[in-house]
């Protein structure tokens, strides 16, 4: 099973991501967190294979800041920055903590991207 953590503060988008991942039984949802702080607490006890991370979040940390802390806690975890901030794509190119960037409107690409990243992980 591939452990999934969703970090998203919009309930409708949370539900959407949950529903998309429920289509692939290999993913097991460990936590849906509204803030990065809550998700980091989860990552301390359970190392997720994949984190779907929004940028603008409840709490004090944004997605980019949180990604660095996730990688320190769980270096093997793959992180997808799933956001409506298109302007962040350029910044994520030089950000090693982000494994992939996906615009929120490209929902059809989310599951294939997560599958690809976690398949890479299982080959390592």
């Amino acid at each position: 099973m591939k452990i999934l953590v969703i970090v998203e503060d919009d309930p409708d988008v949370q539900f959407l991501i949950e529903t998309i991942f429920s289509m692939d039984p290999r993913f097991a949802l460990a936590r849906v967190a509204e803030s990065a702080e809550d998700a980091l607490a989860t990552a301390q006890t359970t190392e997720p294979e994949i984190i779907v991370l929004d940028h603008g979040l409840s709490g004090n940390l944004n997605g980019l800041e949180a990604a660095r802390q996730f990688k320190e806690l769980a270096p093997q975890t793959k992180i997808i920055l799933f956001t409506a901030h298109a302007e962040l794509e350029a910044r994520t190119i030089d950000e090693p903590a982000i494994d992939a960037f996906l615009l929120k409107t490209d929902t059809a690409g989310l599951l294939p991207l997560a599958q690809e990243l976690t398949d890479m992980l299982s080959l390592m």
Partner: protein, 310 residues
Amino acid sequence: MVREDVGAAEAASYAKAILNILDDVGEERERQVDSQRAVLNILEDIDTEKIRLESTQKALLNILDDLDLERGKVDRANIDLREVNEAMRGFIAVAAHDLRSPLASMVGFSSLLTENWATLSEENRWKFVSTIDRQSHKLAGLVNDLLTLSSLEGGVLKTQPELIVLGEAVSQCLAASSGDTASVSVSCSSDLVVRFDPLHLGRIIDNYLQNAFKYGEPPVRIEATQLGDMVEVRVLDHGPGVPPDFESKLFGKFARADVTSTRDKKGSGLGLSIVRGLAEANGGQALYRPNIPNGACFVAILPVGEGPPR
């Protein structure tokens, strides 16, 4: 010839020569006077030319000063344009983000419905459709706000001012607004009449109320008083108020203070910008004052209405 005759002839010849010399001297003097006059004329011309050149030089210096002044203005205009461009880029980035957010749910759930209709439970189908419905209304609201703001900034928004009994307008607004409007107390004399576009007035009061519900704390109160030829409407709450360093940005586009109390609140951030635009388009003002000792006080200053109300 005899010696005497020779002497006389020589003398006459000398005298003639002397006369000729004197004539030449006279002519030479005249020439010199002429030359002197010419030189004086030239000197006068030079003086005139010098004055003309000095005046041209002065004019050129003035032109250079003007050019410097104009260049300063152009430099300042360039800086202003760069700032406007930067603000516009920021505006577009935020607008694109806020438009994309509801679209994400709409696109995602409609795709799930289209591709998995047969296998989805009826409950899930209903959940997906109601989410699409909710997010499409959110998107429509945001697009409308952007269009209103665009009309306001372009100076093309039409106002249809009417005489309005303020107390009645406040009651109607409270009845139509969402949130805990029953707990809102109102202090407004029944004879207060304003001249304002009724739709715009409703939008302003509703926006202030929703801000009080969203960012403030109860009790929420609406007060109105006449001050000369204007009427001041205040919507007060008892929440944390607006941070002092954010007050100047409060009525700007996509304004949302980045403090813990607002970070988890969703809103377009266009509301107060529209409120100010609508107030000014109707000859009024919109402003903020702290509600001492704690809370926010949002103020709309409206032109008083004269004559019988509608």
